[in-house]
Amino acid sequence: MKKHTFDRQTKGDRIFFALDYAVLVFVVLVVVYPLIYVLSCSFSDPLAVMESKVVLWPVNISLQSYKQVFEYTPIWIGFRNSIAYTVIGTALNLVLTMLLAFPLSARELPGKKIVLGLLTFTMLFNAGTIPNYIWMRNLGLIDNFWVLILPCGLTAYNVFVTRTYMQNTLTEELREAAEIDGCSDFRFFLQIALPLSGAIVAVMMLFYGTVHWGEYFNALIYIRSKELYPLQIFLRNILIANNIEGDLLGSLDPEEAALREALQETLKYGIIVVSSLPMMLLYPFVQKFFVKGVMIGAVKG
């Protein structure tokens, strides 16, 4: 009984499994290679990178590019701002999402359908770039720290996922028992619903947090002053538009043009690694949470 019947393999099955594993290994290699390559370049000697000597592992290990990254202040302004946007933005997201998802998870609440309708419509239709811009301008939010936080207060999809989760964890019996004991909705929310929602709070932190961290287009539209730029705008200027500011490379001997150019390239690799590091370090620990989140969303479907 222990061995399932379907473990007996025919010849065709064996070929199938061989191909299956070959494809999976191929996928892993394709996904991992660019990441390793970038990492290796960032740790290599700038000239070796320019001469394309790096193929997989670092060549002539050097911390040059990191030294440059650390000396390049705009990146750190960006880091500071992005952390502020992400932490404050996500905190607001969590408060709003929980406050809305909890009442909507109630079995019976007059007016619930109207609110659900309001939410669903935002998924189907958006005012669009220009009307949003005009509205933010009317509110006086252009070039303001809060313009990257307030308009993204809550996302309908995330509210639905949280609501589904609460419908499943806060059972009808639990709600009734609390009501009979004279527990108010506020108290139920704070002392019962929230403590039971640890997993979904983690999921939401992750979903909202990644959006805030990657934010770039809204910043491009609404933010003018450099002191308010999130990290991604600085990254775009350096990595894609090739605008490296100031005398970062100026202290070098002007005759060493090749080295200069090389340093510019490795600086990019260093920046890519440093800026992606927070997410990449966090990711293995939160992986199980976001898988859970996607699955709750799917069940709702």
Partner: protein, 311 residues
């Protein structure tokens, strides 16, 4: 008579609940205020698509011009190009990035070594957490014409280097396949979850009947996850004109602009860089309406053909 008393009863019942649960409404107040202020109030700005808007005159003081901006859009030489660029980029993306995660999920589901399976999942989800700006810059580095590793390899094989990031023809494949690289794993999660619900008894019965792996996938796995596939397809079709404009904009250059100018990047440039607010708003409305029609249409087709639909 009967109906009105029933309604009265219903209202009375509702009033009792509302009274008992007034705190629920207090909780909802703040989030709903946010929805109204930041999602619904901006829609008042849609009216400028029918006016000649300028900041000095404001929304209500600007002159009404009716459908002139829509006329201008449709008769513009850019219109066919914008529409075809947007549609083609989107269709190409759907054709590649929709089915492949399903295949990947099925293949992963067949994996019999839990540890290896976990590893593959862990690695394949990771690129999802790299930001768009960084993805595009990795592309720029790896596919650089002069020193990008891909061109170095191509030249080592004795072929000519290709300007992947510059050439117009390369734009669509680069956009689509980098998207696949980034999101294949993440997009497969939902199907992996759905596949976990396949009834093992069906599998055993199929084995006894002499079905091979492929037959089992075709006759058991796929039908099980079909509702999920259809829902995801409807949702995806609903955003057919919403290409990832952030990434498109980052990848744009003077050469590939013939293929990379899509509706949303055009709205941004026209509206915010050229300050033709009204015209850009009209283009935006066109975009939203097409999306809305698409989601309703696909939903209607799916409901007609099968029994899975969004509503």
């Amino acid at each position: 008579m009967n109906r009105s008393t029933a309604r009265q009863k219903h209202w009375k019942h509702n009033r009792i609940i509302m009274k008992r649960h007034w705190q629920m409404y207090v909780m909802m107040f703040l989030p709903i205020a946010f929805l109204i202020v930041f999602n619904y109030m901006p829609m008042s700005g849609l009216v400028i698509a029918f006016k000649n808007y300028s900041f000095s005159k404001g929304i209500w003081g600007s002159k009404w011009v009716g459908l002139r901006h829509f006329d201008k859009l449709i008769s513009s030489y850019m219109f066919p190009r914008l529409l075809s660029n947007t549609f083609l980029l989107s269709l190409f993306t759907i054709a590649v990035c929709f089915p492949i995660p399903i295949v990947f999920a099925v293949l992963l589901n067949e994996c019999r070594h839990p540890r290896f399976k976990k590893l593959v999942q862990m690695i394949s989800y990771a690129p999802h957490f790299i930001t768009t700006v960084v993805i595009v810059s990795i592309l720029n580095q790896l596919f650089n014409y002069y020193h990008g590793i891909v061109n170095v390899m191509i030249q080592n094989l004795g072929m000519h280097a290709v300007d992947f990031m510059g050439e117009a023809d390369a734009f669509r494949p680069m956009y689509v396949f980098s998207g696949l690289w980034q999101n294949m794993g993440y997009n497969s999660i939902i199907y992996i979850a759905a596949l976990a619900s396949v009834d093992p008894q069906l599998e055993e019965a199929a084995t006894i009947d002499g079905a091979n792996r492929l037959q089992k996938i075709w006759h058991i796995d796929l039908p099980t996850i079909m509702p999920t596939i259809i829902i995801m397809l409807i949702l995806r079709m609903g955003s057919i004109l919403d290409v990832g404009y952030e990434k498109v904009y980052l990848m744009q250059n003077d050469i590939n602009i013939v293929f990379s100018e899509v509706i949303s990047t055009y709205v941004y440039k026209m509206g915010l860089l050229n300050t033709q607010y009204s015209f850009a708003a009209a283009v935006g409305i066109f975009n939203s309406v097409v999306n809305l029609v698409m989601v309703l249409l696909v939903n209607w087709i799916c409901r007609r053909l099968g029994d899975t639909s969004l509503w």
